[in-house]
């Protein structure tokens, strides 16, 4: 018996080896959710999905977990790295964090933002970009194809924080983001929203939030393709005010209206994290219950970081009968503040009227600056903060770069002092958008920096106005990044098995986007061309007619005629009587002899008849032409 079993086992293992041996590195998928109470009584939920595909020799034609659509996109347009984000709402840098990994990666400008690096010769980058925008707009049901025109994208050199000459960047601030963009995004996940953590994405609760940003980041790494999809939502838990200044308590089901009933079976790892910041006694919080708050489920692991505590939950154990419904109940009032970026950026318009204006970017020091700058840079004994500003101007905002002024602490500064590097590519009318990259080096003790630049508003061709031209035109967000500041969570433990945390452990550039500006342009009356045509034509016709009449005038004859007529009744009176007669349709009651009156009336009626026929003929011709089509 044993003799027969062993060869069978060998055979079986051999067959298994054949079956699985063909692709040793398999496609991998993992899902995670990070929850974080925010200081302003809101809750942040960050869904993160990671999909890895090994490099294959089938040129992306056969897939098991990795979405076919994305890999075909990569193959077709030779994308090396790409990020697409759909955002509604504005990230509140003061309350939700400015310098941690979460905010520097996921705080995105309003609307659609797309950047991509291509692996093609430099001359073909623009073509690839155009094709990619079209493909993505079909894939995500969005008007990303508007980024195709060369007036709407730019090629940043160093200001974007990623230097490559094959990089293209574009954004559509006006794009409305809704569930029709989320559904195709979910289709790329193997479990969609049917199972696992993504089942929490109840559309009404996601879109009721204060901020939501769905992001898709694709990169070619040594181990193949890496597709990261994340959805960041800031939600307000429903609470009744109880008089005490407690933070609101919440649970997954109260936030989303759904529960997690098990992991996505295809996911390699499936975790929920809870990040708590600013706790009074971090050491004491490894427990399920403490005096400050209470968790409904015991965390599987607890990690401690310099400023926060991270509870890790594994949702493997949950099932239909026992759903995973994490809840957090506060027992004591708690207050904390988030890590801030060194400078807080905002942007506004100056000036009035439809002719010219100025754009100002204001950088204000935040509380955290001293702490950060102290350890960051000491440049020749002086503490310095570096900041990069990257801004795209549409061509119809004609910026005068010589008017660039920098005020440091409300003192106008000669540019060379703080402005270390500047790169400007001016816009060309209807050809390309303008771009400005600036590197500022500011003293650490700076309170505020204002950058202003003047512009003239251009005129668009009548065809170039969007349907709602009177709403105004958007200037895309400026990107402020701090090249010497990096955000990362500093864990002591080795976390390579947890994709989200290992991502957080990597250093990422601290960056923040400013507001979108709305510039009202002179909008024409869109029926104007026809009005202009009509009025000029009428004037010309009048001129032409009077000129012709003047040419044909016989002055001598008229004088003779007037002389002979002067004895008669006044011209005006006769004209009036004629007019009334015409209206009444009766012959002119002339005091003169009968036969002449009769003759006159017959002449009159024939002329009248002729005119009526003429008008009727013109009307008929018009009718014929207009109904011909």
């Amino acid at each position: 018996m044993a003799r027969t079993v062993i060869p069978l086992l060998i055979l079986q293992s051999f067959l298994l080896a054949i079956a699985f041996g063909s692709n040793e590195v398999e496609e991998e998928f993992s899902e995670s959710l990070l929850l974080k109470p925010l200081p302003d009584r809101k809750v942040l939920a960050h869904f993160h999905f990671e999909n890895r595909a090994p490099p294959s020799n089938s040129h992306g034609r056969h897939h098991h977990l990795f979405p076919k659509a994305i890999s075909q996109l990569v193959q077709k347009f030779r994308v090396k790295e790409m990020e697409l984000s759909f955002t509604q709402g504005r990230w509140n840098h003061e309350h939700w964090g400015g310098s941690d990994t979460l905010s520097s990666m996921n705080a995105k400008p309003v609307g659609v933002e797309l950047w991509a690096v291509f692996d093609v010769p430099r001359s073909e980058v623009d073509t690839s970009w155009k094709n990619l925008t079209h493909a993505l707009s079909g894939l995500f049901c969005a008007s990303i194809n508007f980024l195709e025109s060369s007036t709407s994208y730019a090629a940043p050199t160093w200001g974007f924080g990623r230097s490559s000459d094959k990089l293209r960047y574009g954004s559509l601030p006006r794009e409305a983001v809704c569930t029709e963009n989320l559904t195709p995004w979910l289709k790329l996940l193997p479990c969609r929203d049917k199972d696992g953590i993504s089942a929490l994405m109840n559309r009404p609760s996601v879109y009721r939030g204060f901020y939501h940003s769905q992001r898709l980041h694709l990169s070619m790494v040594d181990s193949g393709m890496l597709l990261e999809q994340s959805l960041t939502v800031v939600l307000q838990p429903d609470t009744v005010y109880d008089g005490k200044d407690l933070q609101p308590s919440w649970s997954l089901s109260s936030l989303f209206g759904r529960k997690v009933v098990g992991k996505c079976v295809l996911a390699k790892s499936s975790n929920v994290y809870l990040q708590m910041e600013g706790l009074a006694h971090p050491e004491a919080h490894t427990l399920l219950k403490n005096e400050e708050f209470e968790l409904s489920i015991k965390p599987d692991r607890t990690l401690r970081e310099t400023s926060s505590v991270l509870f890790i939950f594994d949702i493997d154990k949950s099932s239909d009968s026992e759903p995973f419904d994490l809840s957090l109940t506060w027992k004591l009032p708690s207050k904390w503040s988030c890590q801030q970026a060194p400078l807080h950026a905002s942007r506004f318009l100056m000036g009035s009227g439809n002719e010219r204006g100025a754009i100002a970017i204001l950088l204000k020091a935040t509380e955290s600056q001293d702490k950060l700058s102290g350890k960051d840079i000491t440049n020749g004994g002086h503490c310095r903060v570096k900041a990069n500003v990257f801004q795209i101007f549409p061509w119809y905002v004609k910026v005068y770069y010589h008017t660039l002024q920098i005020f440091v602490d409300q003192q106008q500064n000669t540019s060379s002092e703080v402005l270390k590097k500047i790169n400007v590519s001016p816009s060309a009318d209807k050809m390309s958008s303008g771009m400005m990259e600036m590197m500022l080096e500011l003293p650490c003790e700076v309170k505020s920096v204002a950058i202003s630049i003047e512009y003239d508003k251009g005129f668009l061709h009548i065809d170039e106005y969007p349907p709602d031209a009177n709403q105004g035109f958007d200037i895309p967000s400026a990107l402020i990044s701090f090249p010497d500041h990096h955000a990362s969570l500093d864990f002591k433990e080795e976390l390579s098995t947890l994709p989200l945390l290992s991502k957080f452990k990597d250093k990422s550039l601290v960056r923040s986007y400013t507001e979108v500006l709305l510039v009202p342009l002179t909008t024409p009356d869109f029926s104007m061309p026809y009005n202009v045509i009509t009025i000029t034509c009428t004037v010309f016709a009048l001129y032409f007619g009077s000129l012709l009449n003047a040419l044909r005038r016989r002055i001598g004859e008229e004088e003779r005629f007037l002389k002979s007529k002067g004895k008669k009744t006044g011209g005006l009176k006769q004209l009036l009587s004629r007019f009334t007669a015409k209206i009444r349709g009766r012959p002119v009651e002339s005091p003169s002899s009968e036969p002449t009156a009769a003759a006159q009336s017959s002449v009159l009626s024939s002329k009248l008849l002729f005119k009526i026929i003429l008008v009727a003929g013109v009307a008929a011709a018009w009718q014929y032409f207009s109904t011909d089509k």
Binding site: L15, I18, A19, F20, S22, N23, S58, R61, H62, H63, H64, L65, K68, A69, Q72, L73, Q75, K76, A135, L139, K187, P190, C191, R192, K194, D195, G262, V265, L266, Y530, I533, T534, T536, C537, T538, F540, A541, L542, F544, G545, L548, N549, L551, R552, R554, E557, R560, F561, S564, K565, S592, T596, Q600, V603, F625, S626, D628, K629
Partner: protein, 602 residues
């Protein structure tokens, strides 16, 4: 001037009595021409400017060859495209038959079967017959199309061994046949000696372009044999074993208008919580599908891709059948089987433009509905457990070996290579059906049944010939109709801009169509197929050119609205002025003439 004529006569003039002429009726000076000249000059310059204006508002329209388009579609409608085919019949072991007589009889049979209605893509038949008597003497019809060496096929040795080997040997025998123009098809009829095979007649159609009928005592059943030979020629070699009245199939050629076809294979795990199956499609693609796509290369440019999807329930319900111990879905449920909400099969980004995508779906039922079987209308269980949907693709339901749910956490299983091969075999059958062929290896007609040897490439050579004939025909048809619609559209919208590019495309499309027609008449199957493909894709490109789609053409209304505010009043002034001056000139001239006559008489 009207006023002057209107003016009531104050005094009753007495003509002739006074030397001063009455200004009402006559004048002494010659009327001046100045004003008349001015107004007529203005009028004429105005009129002569009109052609320039007309020219300036003219929109650019590339000249389309309307006449050629019409003649092409007329030609295709009136004379269906026919390819030259040579049929060669070889009778072995027949004593007393005159080949010429046989030929005319076969010709009659062929004519009877094809009937009057000559379908597009059928054959222009030429038949040759060789008869080999039992003592290996040959007589053949003239002109000889094939250099069959007499006696190569032995009457008694023939048909021994496997059918595949016979097919190979026949290919050697007829290897030297050029077949003149077009393809050559041959049928070998072997009359065995009495007694060794009984009365049975065996008819086989090979993988190449040969068929053979073997039996004993065939000479006595001579009429039947001739009937069967002509049947093989017409029904199998010419029509590919399709049913008559299947001509509509030609419209359903599943090839995109750019000549490309994407085969998208999807493995659907309807509920991955019960079990997860995966496949190694890469191997299938390389091993089993590559020969098929290669064989079909002249007809379509085929690419293959695969994916695995999860959480994809079907949208129809199935019921438990106690007797069969399985869940059943019926043929009436099939229209609702494909769940387009949940099966995000996705149009492929690899398929650009107008290429066609065929979806091949393997559906793995969930634990709640396992095993799942398709019940045919006659109550039997379908053997393939799958169905096709023309122009969309096909679905196969694959039940796991063991319908018991995996324990707590489902593991990822691989479909075993044997199972996968079976699935692919069903796929190939369905693929053949989508192209209009039968999936069985037997063709039955009134006179008997024929065994059809399946090719490992999915399609036999004669089937590929049928496909290229039909495909050429279909492409030319669709090219002609597309160009016809384009020309009608263009003619119905006289103010639509037509770019040069469209004109070029139409021109090249017509050229390619002409080339395809001439190639077809010369018997170049693959060349005519490829040029007809080109013709169709160019025609479609012209029709779907983005500039045709744009709405902003310069309409008459627009023209009228822009120009009438100027030209209507000005034209009124100019024309009226000229008319009045002319009238006045005539009046004054009459006055002058009366004065002249008066003067003369006076």
């Amino acid at each position: 001037m009207e006023e002057t004529s209107d003016h009531p006569n104050p005094t009753t003039s007495t003509p002739g009595t006074t030397p001063e002429p009455d200004p009402k009726t006559m004048r002494s000076s010659k009327p001046g021409l100045k004003r008349l000249l001015i107004t007529t000059t203005v009028l004429f310059s105005f009129l002569s400017g009109l052609p320039f204006l007309w020219k300036s508002v003219e929109i650019y329209r590339s000249q389309l060859p309307f006449h050629d388009i019409d003649s092409l579609s007329d030609q295709i409608k009136s004379t269906p495209l026919r390819f030259p085919c040579t049929f060669h019949a070889l009778f072995i072991g027949f004593r007393s038959n005159d080949p010429d007589q046989l030929r005319s009889e076969i010709q009659d049979g062929v004519n009877q079967l094809t009937g009057e209605s000559s379908q597009c893509g059928s054959c222009n038949v030429s038949i040759s017959v060789t008869v080999q008597s039992p003592d290996e003497l040959c007589s053949e019809t003239f002109p000889s199309t094939c250099s069959y060496r007499c006696g190569v096929i032995k009457r008694d040795a023939f048909g021994g061994g496997l059918d595949d080997e016979v097919d190979e040997s026949l290919d050697d025998v007829f290897g030297g046949c050029s077949g003149g123009i077009g393809k050559m098809y041959s049928v070998v009829v072997v009359n065995k000696e009495e007694g060794d095979g009984g009365d049975e007649v065996k008819a086989v159609v090979g993988k190449r372009r040969h068929a053979w009928i073997v039996g004993s005592g065939l000479e006595e059943r001579y009429g039947e044999v001739v009937g069967r030979v002509s049947e093989v020629f017409v029904k199998v070699f010419m029509n590919g074993g399709r049913e008559e009245g299947d001509s509509i199939r030609g419209e359903f050629m599943p090839v995109g208008s750019d000549g490309r076809l994407v085969l998208s294979f999807s493995l659907l795990n309807s509920n991955p919580r019960d079990w997860i199956y995966d496949w190694d499609f890469q191997r299938i693609d390389e091993g089993l599908l590559a020969p098929v796509t290669k064989a079909l290369a002249p007809i379509a440019d085929i690419s293959v891709e695969s994916q695995v999807l999860y959480h994809t329930p079907k949208s129809s319900f199935s019921s438990w059948d106690e007797k069969l111990q399985s869940y059943i879905f019926r043929t009436s449920d099939l229209p609702f089987f494909v769940n387009s909400n949940e099966w995000h099969l996705d149009t492929s980004a690899g398929a650009s433009g107008r290429s066609k995508i065929l979806q091949f779906v393997v559906y793995i039922p969930s634990g709640k509905e396992c095993p799942l079987h398709l019940q045919l209308p006659n109550g039997e269980i379908s053997k393939t457990n799958g169905f096709i949907s023309p122009m969309w693709g096909s679905v196969i339901v694959w039940n796991p070996r063991n319908c018991d749910k995996d324990s707590e956490s489902p593991s990822r299983n691989m479909i075993s290579p044997q199972d996968l091969e079976q699935i692919v075999e069903v796929f190939l059958g369905q693929f053949r059906q989508l192209f209009g062929f039968k999936s069985e290896a037997i063709y039955t007609s009134e006179l008997g049944s024929y065994k059809i040897l399946p090719s490992e490439r999915g399609f036999t050579e004669w089937e590929l010939d049928v496909l290229s004939r039909k495909h050429t025909c279909f492409n030319l048809h669709s090219c002609a109709t597309t160009l016809g619609s384009l020309s009608r559209l263009v003619q119905s919208l006289p103010r639509m801009i037509i770019k040069d590019e469209i004109g070029e495309q139409v021109k090249y499309s017509l050229k390619a169509a002409k080339l395809a027609q001439s190639n077809a008449s010369l018997g170049g199957y693959s060349s005519s197929a490829s040029s007809s493909r080109e013709a169709r894709s160019l025609a479609e490109n012209a029709f779907f050119h983005p500039s045709i789609m744009s709405v902003s053409y310069f309409s008459y209304e627009h023209c009228f609205a822009v120009y009438s505010p100027f030209f209507l009043p000005v034209a009124g002034h100019v024309v009226l002025a000229a008319l009045r001056e002319w009238k006045r000139y005539k009046q004054e001239k009459a006055k002058y003439l009366t004065w002249l006559t008066r003067k003369k008489t006076a």
